[in-house]
């Protein structure tokens, strides 16, 4: 699978936030998108998944050469795109297990309950999530760390071809950052998924090996390079 973003301009509430982004992510590639607060990273990720508030003014988003701009969010997910939310929503009354089962069935058809639970149990174990969490409402009353880990669990369960991870490290303690990073690494090596990881800090990158680092400031990509670019930002900040 190949995700191409071509000269994309996006407005949110009549304000241009993305000002001409071009980026290509192939299956198996590991990209990092860094940038200061308000640079448009989250807007970009939501535009890729088709959030209706993100108005595409010009440019295109293509999957395997076909524009997906007219596709609804669920259809984009069915193509193999996944967004890990920076702030996952809470839905009281919606059982997490039922939600995961519905999502899995929507994307990959029904699994037997036994197979489904085996996948869930494997992920909860690797992510050090308490088992009883799956009996609770979706993200309702979860700690920040639990929410982030449940996002990673969803990625593992739904097996996307390209996953966009929006600040999977924010609000996590050092051990949790390492756990999340290890899970993402393992997921990628097992599935050969493409990864676009969005972050402010290079801390999580201590446990990962991204091939490409892009720096976004004020809606534009201002610099690109390898992992050494992330190290430079860690030392010098976003002085471009």
């Amino acid at each position: 699978m190949k995700l191409e973003i071509k000269d994309l301009h996006v407005e949110v509430e009549d304000k241009e936030v993305i000002k001409g982004i071009t980026l290509t992510i192939n299956e198996g590639e590991f990209h990092v998108l860094m940038g200061p607060n308000g640079s448009g990273k989250t807007t970009l990720s939501r535009a890729i998944l088709g959030h209706t508030k993100m108005k595409i003014k010009s440019g295109d988003i293509l999957v395997d050469g076909e524009s997906i701009l007219k596709m609804s969010t669920d259809k984009r997910a069915k193509l193999g795109l996944f967004l890990q939310f920076q702030q996952p929503i809470e839905v009281e009354g919606l059982g997490l297990l039922n939600f995961l089962n519905t999502a899995k069935a929507s994307l990959q058809g029904n699994l037997s309950f036994k197979e489904f639970m085996e996948e869930i149990n494997e992920s909860t174990k690797k992510l050090h999530i308490k088992e009883d969490i799956v009996g609770r409402s979706l993200n309702y009353g979860f700690s920040g760390g639990e929410k982030k880990k449940i996002e990673v669990l969803q990625m593992e369960l739904l097996k996307p071809k390209i996953a966009i991870l929006d600040e999977p490290d924010s609000g996590l303690d050092v051990d949790a950052v390492r756990t999340v990073a290890e899970n993402v690494n393992e997921f990628q090596s097992k599935t050969n998924a493409g990864i676009l990881l969005i972050t402010h800090y290079s801390r999580i990158l201590n446990y990962m090996k991204p091939k490409y680092v892009h720096v976004m400031v004020d809606g534009k990509i201002v610099q690109e390079g390898g992992k050494e670019l992330a190290d430079k930002i860690e030392k010098e900040g976003y002085k471009f």
């Binding site: 959030h51 209706t52 669920d74 939310f85 519905t102 929507s106």
Partner: protein
């Protein structure tokens, strides 16, 4: 009570009309088929049923007291609510259903009460002794083609240390008016969960007075309203903490579609000398369509200085677009995502119900309404798509 006396609230009242009874109005012959359908689909054994031949009790704990033939009613307006409605029911009800649970007994009952073209005013007295446990499910339905009123008047007494759950489902057709009056009194260390699902009827006006009267008594009134088309609901609920260390909670949730309209008036009073008491009124609305309207009016009066907790709140919102985006980003289409959202909203209220069959029936009927934009039907009863998780409140 404030909603009846305060000028501010008077405009938020729906007039309740008692339909005039046509001369010689009688069963339209459809009651029996509706009863059979409900029994077949729910697989429930009903301890009380009514049909063309009147009420029939199959339980030693349910007595039908035949008072006199129901007085023929002219069309009337019972706008000034509970007294007139109470009078109407008392004077015209041909039967009283008396549920008597002796001390230390544990009983589960299912009551089916149906109405055709004949108005059905009905007194239902539930008298539970000490240290007893009762779980009641009351199912109201109708086959009215010419317009009729279903008007149950509950008088509930929960004896010391007893545990009672009363579950009421209103699933009448749109030509039916629902006018109900409920009075409940909970004695020392006893608990009452009064769960009402308002799904049917063209116009519903209901008034509930519930008192946590005995020391350390516990009262939960849980109301779910699901309106569509042009259904109208005026739901008035009054809670009273009148003793020390009592707990009284009102949770009202309304899902509205089409041009439906709902007024939720919840009032809690914490009386003097009720130290350590807990009182909470919470009203929530989910508005699905631009023409749906909801008016939540929570109110509270605290006359005690050292309550443990007292709070009232209201919130209404359309379906959360961020939540929809989240669900859709997991491959769930918009229609299904909205369905999940509604089911989750309803499940918050169903979670506090102990009786599993009530949850099954309620979610099946409510989701059938959501899927097919119809009500008063009896769909296949199933737990499928029931998103219930243990209530966070129950855990507390």
């Amino acid at each position: 009570m404030p909603f009846e006396t305060k000028e501010l609230y008077k405009k938020y009242t729906l007039n309740l009309q008692v339909p005039a009874q046509r001369e010689g109005a009688a069963s339209n012959g459809e009651l029996d088929s509706l009863r059979k359908q409900i029994i077949n689909e729910s697989r429930l054994r009903f301890d009380l049923v009514n049909g063309a031949n009147g009420f029939e009790s199959k339980s030693e704990f349910v007595k039908v007291i035949n008072k006199k033939p129901g007085k023929k009613q002219e069309g009337a307006e019972t706008n000034a609510p509970e007294e007139k409605l109470g009078d109407y029911i008392t004077k015209t009800s041909g039967n009283t259903v008396a549920v008597e649970i002796p001390d230390k007994k544990e009983v589960k009952l299912n009551l089916l009460m149906l109405c055709d073209n004949v108005n059905l005013p009905l007194e239902i007295v539930i008298d539970v002794g000490k240290d007893a446990k009762l779980n009641v499910f009351e199912w109201f339905g109708s086959t009215t083609t010419e317009g009729a009123i279903i008007a149950p008047f509950h008088v509930i007494k929960v004896g010391e240390r007893s545990d009672v759950e009363v579950n009421i489902l209103h699933n009448e057709n749109s030509k039916t008016t629902v006018g109900s009056l409920n009075k409940a009194n909970v004695e020392e260390k006893a608990s009452l969960r009064f769960n009402v699902i308002y799904n049917g009827g063209g116009l519903t006006r209901t008034t509930t007075f519930a008192e946590a009267a005995g020391k350390e008594s516990n009262l939960l009134v849980n109301e779910i309203v699901f309106g569509h088309a042009e259904q109208k609901f005026d739901v008035n609920t009054f809670l009273l903490n009148s003793n020390e260390f009592t707990k009284a909670m009102l949770r009202s949730g309304a899902v509205l579609r089409g041009k439906s309209y709902c007024i939720l008036k919840g009032y809690a009073k914490v009386a003097r000398n009720t130290r350590g008491s807990y009182s909470n009124v919470e009203e929530k609305g989910l508005v699905m369509d631009p023409d749906s309207r909801i008016q939540p009016l929570p109110d509270m009066s605290i006359d005690c200085k050292d309550v443990a907790f007292a709070s009232h709140s209201a919130s209404t919102a359309p379906v959360d677009k961020e939540a929809l985006f989240y669900l859709m980003s997991r491959g769930i289409d918009e229609t299904k995502a909205k369905r999940i959202f509604v089911a989750s909203f309803i499940s918050k209220y169903l979670a506090d119900i102990e009786n599993d069959i009530v949850k099954e029936v309620a979610i099946s009927i409510l989701l059938d309404k959501l899927d097919n934009d119809r009500h008063s039907q009896v769909p296949r009863i199933s737990m499928q798509n029931l998103w219930i998780v243990p209530s966070e409140r129950a855990k507390k």
